[in-house]
Amino acid sequence: MEKTLIRKNAYYDSVTLMSLSSKILGVAGVQEAVISMATDMNKELLQNVGLATEESNSAVNNDLIIAIRAKDDEVYNEALKFVDELLVSKNKEREVKGFENPKTIDDALGYMSDANMAVISVPGQYAAREAKKALKNGLHVMLFSDNVSLEEEKEIKELGRDKGLLVMGPDCGTAMINGVGLCFSNKVRQGNIGLVGASGTGLQEVMVQVHKLGGGISQAIGTGGRDLSIEIGGIMMLEGLKALSRDEGTDVIVLISKPPAKQVEEEILKETGLVNKPVVICFIDGDEIKQKNDNIHFVNRLYDAAKKATDLTGINQSETNDNNIKIFEELKRMLNHEQKHFRGLFCGGTLCAEAFSVLRGKFEIKSNIAKEENEKLHDINNYTGNALLDLGEDEFTRGKPHPMIEPSLRLEKIIKQAKDKEVGVILMDFVLGYGSHKDPAGVSIETIREAKSIAKSAGRNLIFVAYICGTDLDKQNYDKQRETLDEEGVILAESNLEAANIVMELLS
């Protein structure tokens, strides 16, 4: 019998190949063996000696062919042992005498061979390589790293898709898989609403709101912010959707993203049409898409996505009581005629994006996340008028920790806005949960107090509007966070959407 093994793109030194050849030929019952690169001449040789197979014929120059003619299967398998011995890369279990921090994915697997997920956070130029290693070892990947090229992102996502593995990222900060929060994630009630999001704080906001509305989350799959671009084509959004449609614990699916490329949108709609569960599609700042499928529900705000999903599960929580209306008039009177502007200082990118989407309908705003040229904030240190800053963007975080981890980054910004006589309202988010600072409100309160004092001494009042993205189960003690801000007179919104609406109301 003749059989061929092909090792794709395999580079082994001649000594190894010679050694293998000798060992195989030394097995009793092996009649012939040829181990060579799959060049045309070598393949012709295999043909001439009757060792060619379909696999060897379709191998290419840089592939290694191991062609064996053996008496029977038993002899062949005996010969194969040498292949494993000499050509398989090291992946030994380590004897744990004293735990040493593993330095590679292989090392880590040595300590935890039953792991099924790798969370990768290395500089961008190495991230794809590590992701590939993890995928080749059968692990799902959460890729926290950014600065990965589009080509690499596509490559690893296609690899993941082909292997039936999730590739969450790059630049994916939030996920919750089987009840386990990964990177930045809130602790929420487990339930039957599954999320797939190309947006970290977008996922967090929907998770948190579902929890507040009495619902629960089955899974929250992050895809990374570029997944729905034309280059990537929504690979992981589609895979996440398929996974949730098969997941027995998920009854309603929510997809969250900024509006995708048109072609990608069509693909997603097509796939959504095949799902036998209700799907809520939230394209933030997107237009409603007219379609005939009653199973698909379109919204363009995060709170609305959570509300719709929760309603679809049969939980009908009443809307938040809008007590703030009573005090709006009083608050408006606190501002003088010059104080026409607001400044948003955000840790969460999607929270900033949603606020921007709500407020730009009413005001001229500049932001570092704006797409339109006339709304783009070009100088992040020097601006006037209304401005929303996503402080988690690269221009602010180069060499520094993310503001969700270290909120003190934005404290100097708070003081700067307080000194601007045209600013009446400062809008902020406080993100709780895994990965976030242990006391976001606490670390900021002194500065909020100081800012108010600065404005006061200049004859002005300053209004702070805040939204706490968190739940009563988060480690930062949600009630304490609220109390800290409330005692300082910060106006607290129940959702990110409401916070933006409050600002709109105050300054309209």
């Binding site: 010679m18 050849s21 690169m37 060049t39 045309d40 120059n61 956070s121 190495y126």
Partner: protein, 328 residues
Amino acid sequence: MTENVLKYIELNIISYDEEFVKILNQHQELYNLGKVHSIYTKTINFIDKHHELYTIASENIANGPYFLIINTGGIDLKSIDLEVGDPIKAVGNSILIGTHLKINIVAGSYLWTPKVLNQDSFNMSILRQNISYFNKIIVDKQSICGCKYYYLKSILNINNYKPQIIEKELAKKIGVFLEDIELDNICQESINSLIGLGVGLTPSGDDFLVGFVSVLSIIANNYANTIKKKIISSININVISTTDVSRKMLRIALSGKYGDSIFNFVNALLQNNKKLLNYSLEELLSIGSSSGMDLAIGIIMGIILLMKNKSLGELRYGKDANKKKCLL
């Protein structure tokens, strides 16, 4: 989003060739020069965006075109945590490879250039004597799956060696190739049937041709140049079926370039210096597993061809260009 402090192993560059100078000078800081193609104990190959292959080699490896020689202090390059596909970047006077290797240009790193023969005549009896010495060595040297079977059978008339299939095939095709040259009937078919044939990363047929063509470039008399031109015109390097590394070696040889180990052996064959011959042969035979032997046989067959043609009286001279030049 997360900063990692990377620990690099730092090694110094001993020498580099003009191709490395070109790619380093053309690019800006942290530009991706290319990515790792393959990693071995003593060498790391990388390819640039034009798919040109370069080699970073340890000090045990002789210099050559597209080679950068580094002082490894004996460490196995495979033991450094590098992967195929790792980026190669230029940073100041250093090259970063992946996440763990940094190689530095230091005072004393020099520009390597190919050696050129510097003698005006040959002594035929010295040549024959040296080839006899080579014949003795080859019989004892352990080498399988390469061109050795051809040499033992066809040149030394030794028939007690049991060849593998590939060796038989190689012997047949080398015979046809050499016959075609002697009959002035060089054709694409006989050359191409050698290319890609053989075991290993650089198939034996390719190594044979590299050795053969290199000796023609080193001797560089009229006859050698004529043969070489005919061989070049019969090979379309871009469509031949062989491995990336071997294609690179062939391309270098066909462009008239060669490494130190090839030159040293050819030069030693022309001298009356057994120590030099011994040393240069050892150096050449240490390349790969059968590659060194296959190169040597290619060289010897080239010399034998020129001896048969009686053309070794005509020699092209050149200055020794192997001058050490420090970059810093």
